[in-house]
Structures are given as structure tokens and as C-alpha cells.
Symmetry: none
Subunit: 188 residues, 4 copies
Amino acid sequence: MRRDAVRNRAAIVEAARGALDEHGGTVDVREIARRAGVGMGTLYRHFPAKEDLIAEVLHEQFTIWSATIRTAAATADPWTALTDFFDQALRGCAKQHAIMDSVAAGWSRPSAEAVVLGEIIDELLARAAGLLRPGVTRDDLLLMLQSLSCAVRVTQQSGRPRDRTAWNRLVRISLDGLRATHSDPLPQ
Amino acid sequence: MRRDAVRNRAAIVEAARGALDEHGGTVDVREIARRAGVGMGTLYRHFPAKEDLIAEVLHEQFTIWSATIRTAAATADPWTALTDFFDQALRGCAKQHAIMDSVAAGWSRPSAEAVVLGEIIDELLARAAGLLRPGVTRDDLLLMLQSLSCAVRVTQQSGRPRDRTAWNRLVRISLDGLRATHSDPLPQ
Amino acid sequence: MRRDAVRNRAAIVEAARGALDEHGGTVDVREIARRAGVGMGTLYRHFPAKEDLIAEVLHEQFTIWSATIRTAAATADPWTALTDFFDQALRGCAKQHAIMDSVAAGWSRPSAEAVVLGEIIDELLARAAGLLRPGVTRDDLLLMLQSLSCAVRVTQQSGRPRDRTAWNRLVRISLDGLRATHSDPLPQ
Amino acid sequence: MRRDAVRNRAAIVEAARGALDEHGGTVDVREIARRAGVGMGTLYRHFPAKEDLIAEVLHEQFTIWSATIRTAAATADPWTALTDFFDQALRGCAKQHAIMDSVAAGWSRPSAEAVVLGEIIDELLARAAGLLRPGVTRDDLLLMLQSLSCAVRVTQQSGRPRDRTAWNRLVRISLDGLRATHSDPLPQ
DNA sequence: TATGAATGAGACTTCATTCAT
DNA sequence: GATGAATGAAGTCTCATTCAT
């Protein structure tokens, strides 16, 4: 691939990232092309459909994000690893709202993203085994993450975009609900 | 108001309810008119803009929903009242995904819906005071509800629409996180 | 015809008169029905099409108008009769812009209105014969009237609606151009 | 700008010119697109709103027209300049009825078009000063032009579109009314 | 008979995608 | 390979006219 083609592709993805975050999935592809400084033809050469471009943006974001949270999940203390994991994961969502959608989309038919997340979560579960209430599964944490990402999104809606307190409180509550203190069995 | 007008108005709202739930807010108004068995003019006579129709559907759903959860929140035992409240509220969301959006939309600037919910939650908080960890606020429960409604939505995505186990487990975990057992203060 | 039907018909015509003058020919028939205080069905019972209603309004206005100008044209002094005729005719146009349109519409295929006007003008021409330049015809005066009515309309456009000076000057100029002073033959 | 874009833009304007003249301002934009042989998107790429297209057509017509009448107004003999000016100006109106509307629209709040016309008229007035009755102003001639353009329009209505005699006679009469022969002061 | 709700063709405009330059 | 002009289906909404109540 020629060097300018590479540069164009990167510019398109970056433009799409910003545009998607500002306007959401209904953004006009022309807005993306304009931001990227390329013509429509160039955009469509790289991504045959708008959907493909969106998928690429998500994939890229997910890659960066998953690296971050994998690091956070590697903290020595198992419980801290769990809290750091949620904290970093949700900070990422705060910046790129679309990330979690790809995971959500893969709930019924597991996506590659969900698989990656699942692996990280499995690791966390294994390490924190003794600290958690019995019966907590990978899907529980995956769903909790999705759920909390919505809370992040809600609290970020224009008005007080920097307020992390609200969702931090909810994260604390939710994680406390996972502690071994709670010996009641979860619904099967 | 004439009897056929009443019937048509109801048919339009019902059609809109179904169409909005299936296709989301981008549904074509003609699809709604077709489902309702009326012409475009009839639809626009009752609702001068698409937005008004959507608002009406939400309002109607919210009214039914809030009555249900208010009843659930009136259960004798305070903790059961809390769990019933979440259970009924989320079952409603499971049927009508758009309900919670109106509450979410009112996070920064409180909507009428958010106010109604807030009152119910305040009542629950007052009654369950001794059973809850210190510092739990109305906003904590409101946000938790929003958050969990996303979990419901995710688990309902085409594939296994009837599976309530997944989100029921998450509700249990989250509510357990609210128990007085947890004496750590929440972030301010 | 029943008495209330007569009253309704009159109310419709009056409402249409006002509405047409305010909004022009593109006015919504519902606006007319609302002003008249009747339902659409009643309006359409009396006038099978919007066009018929407009025609009726014009006819009624024309009848009043033609009576006024016929009186003005009967002034003793022939030249004064001519000026009074134009003055009254154009004042009428100032109040009901649509009147002249019906005459204009009948230029190619003479309308009943044009015939009435023609008779008045013929009378004026006969009486003022010696005062006018040779060769002035009925059509000349008819067209002059139409032409000047446009001037009235233009000067009335929102801004300075009461200013009659501008078109009065033009009337004076135009009529002076008809005087016998000008012996040059007109183009045939 | 690409050559085909230029060609399309021109085709659209030309199509609009014809369509506006035939059907008036209520013409369907699709009719214009069809005539121009382009899609709706192309039309809207060049003119973001129907109104913009209409404005462009008027502007273009006015530009051609004003050049023509400016030339006519430059004839050596002052009185001939005046008659040529009216003759050319009204021939233009005969071809494009919408031209004069833009001037009319600017009567209360002077439009760019009215300013251009005013300058030409001022020049004519200055040169013909001695030949005109006292007190004739720019607005008198501007209004006369508007007025006569209506006469042109009326005589052109389907039936005998080529007959210039009728309005030529009226022009002659009106201009004769401007001659210095008439010493009566005009209404102030 | 009067009412006004219902009709539906058609108006303006947008935007994902294709293709001539 | 890049450009951005062109496409046209589809979207929301209006309004002259009809018809059930």
C-alpha cells in the first residue's frame, strides 16, 4: 500500500473517531471526509460502506482500550485489580461512547471484542476467587461493565460532563455487591 | 371528541409504540400510519410533529409503568419493596426500551419523569433507611436503575429475548451492594 | 334556502375576503372555515372548490366596487369624472388587492367584469371626447387602470401602507398623458 | 469547478428560468430537476434551498436585463433615451415576468436591484431635465416602470402573447404625461 | 344539514453510495 | 489513486377535498 494511502486511511479513521463521538452514528459521511481532508471516493475506496468505517473505528478504539484495561487488571492485589479494571474500562467509555456498543452488540452472538474482554475477566475472577461471593461468572462482570458504561454515558450528557463522582459511587456499590460477604446464592 | 377520532388516536399511539420499539426513533412515520390503518393527514392532525407523537408514546408508557412500580414500592417489607421496585421497573423496561431514555434525557435537566421516579425512590429510601449503607442518595438509586435498564436491553437483543436470569443476577448483586453491611463511605 | 344557510354562506364569503386579503390566494381553506366559524363540510357545500369561493369573493367585491366607480364616473364635469373614476377605482384596489386580478384574468377572453368596466369607460370616453388625444380607446383606459392598480399594490406592501401620494402622482401623470394636448398618433 | 458541474449548474438555472416562467414560484423542484436532466441531489448541491435557486435565476435575469436597459438609456437624445429605456425594460419583462417582482419586493426596503435601477433612472432624469414637467422624481419613474410591467404581463396572458401594440400605446401615453408641457404641480 | 376528522398525493430536503473527471 | 459531483430513494410535513358521524 502506498504511503499516502496509509496516511489517508489513518486520517479517515481519526476523523471518523471525532465525528462519531460528537454526532453519534447518524453523522454524515461527508462530515467525516471533510474532517479527514479527503474526497468521498477516497473514503469509499478504503471503506466500502459507512458501517465498515464505523467498525474499524470501534476496533481501533477497542484495541487501545483493551490494552489499558489489561494493564489495570494486572495490579498485584486482586481486589484492586478488579476496581482498577472497572475504573479504567469506564474512563475509556467516558471518552469514547461507542466502544461499549460493539460489546453490547456481541452479547447474543459473541464478538471478537467480547472474547477479549472475557479473557481479561476470567483472569480477574481466577485471581480474586476467594474474595468474591460464590457463583459469580464472567457474564456477570461483563454485563455489569456494560450496565455501568450506560451510567457513565448518562452522567456525561451535556450539563456537567466532568462529574465522575456519580458513577464512581455506583461502581463502588456494584463491586461491593460482589464481595464474599454476600453468601446468598445468585439466581440460576 | 368524536368516537372514531378517539379510536384513531389510540390506534396511532399503539402503532407508534410497536414501531418505535421495533425500529427505534428513526422509524418512518408512514410505517406508523400504515400500522395504525390511517392516512398521513390523520396522524399529523393528532400529532403536529413526529416528535410530539414520540413524546406521547413515552408519556403514556411512563404513566402505566410508574403506576406499576409505585405499587411494587408499597410492599410491606422495606427491603422487599426495594427489590420489587427494581424488578417491576426493569420488567417494564424490558417491554418498552424507550421508557428509560426519557429519564436518561432528563439527567442533566430533570424531566417530569425523573421527578416522579425521584419521589418513589425517596419513599423507598426513607422506609429502608436502617437497612442501607450510609450515604445512599436518590441519585444513586436513579442512576442504578438507569444502569440496570441498559443491562436489560443488552440481554434482550435478538437471540434469547426471554432470558431474565442474567439481569436478575445483576440486580441482586447491585442491591446487595447497598446493604448496611458495607460501612465504607461512598465517594463524595 | 334556509336562513342559517344564508347566514353561513355570507360568513364564509366575508371570512374568505379577509383571509384572501391577508394571505393571498395560497391561504389555507381551513383558515377561512375557522374565521367563518363553520366546518369544512359547510364550506364545501356552498362552494364545491376553493376556486369557486375565490370567484364569489371577487364577484362580490367587484359588484360593490363597480357601483362606486360608476357613481364616480357620473360627475358632471367630464374630466373630473375621469379622475374621480380612477381615484375611486384605485382606492378600491388598495383595499382589496384581488379585485383587479379578475379583470386581468379576463384580458384575453373578456370576463363579465371586464364588460361592465368597459361600459363605464365607454361612457367616460364619450363624454370626455373633446378633451382626449385622438385615438384613445376603451382598451387603453382598461389597461391603464390595470397598470395603475399594480402601482397601488406595490406602494402598499408592508412598510408604509397608508402612503397614497406615490400612486396619486402616477395617476396624475398618466391621465395628463391622455389630454388632447398630445396630438401625436398612438401606435396602431 | 469541474466542467460538468458548470454545465449542470447552468442547466439547472436555465430549467428553473423556464419552469418559473411557466408555472410561477409554486413550481415543483422535481420539475426543474427533470427539465435540467439532473437528480435532486445535484440541484440541492448547487442551491441548498429552492429559494436560493429562485434568487439566482432572478439575479441572473436582472443582470442581463439591467445591462440592456443601461445601454438603451445611453442613447444620445435624452427623450429617446427615456423611451428606449422603457421599451427595452418592458421587453425584458415581457420575456421574464419574475424580474419585476424582485424590484417590487424591494419597494418598502430598497433591494440591490432597485438601487441599480434607481441609478439608471437618475441619469435619465438628469439628462432629460429640461424636457420633463417639474418635480418628477426617481420614484415616479420607478413606479411607472413597475406599473407598466403589469400592463405587459396582462397583455401577454395566454391568447395573443405577441401583441405589443396594447402596452406600447400605454407607454406612449404615460411618457407624454411626463413632458414639460404639463406645468401643473404633482401631489406632494 | 353541519361538523371536522380523514385522506393521500405531492411538496421540500437529506444523505449513503456511485462514477465521471 | 484521488476527487467531489451526481444520484435518487426515502424522510417529514401540508393541504384541497371527501365522507363518516
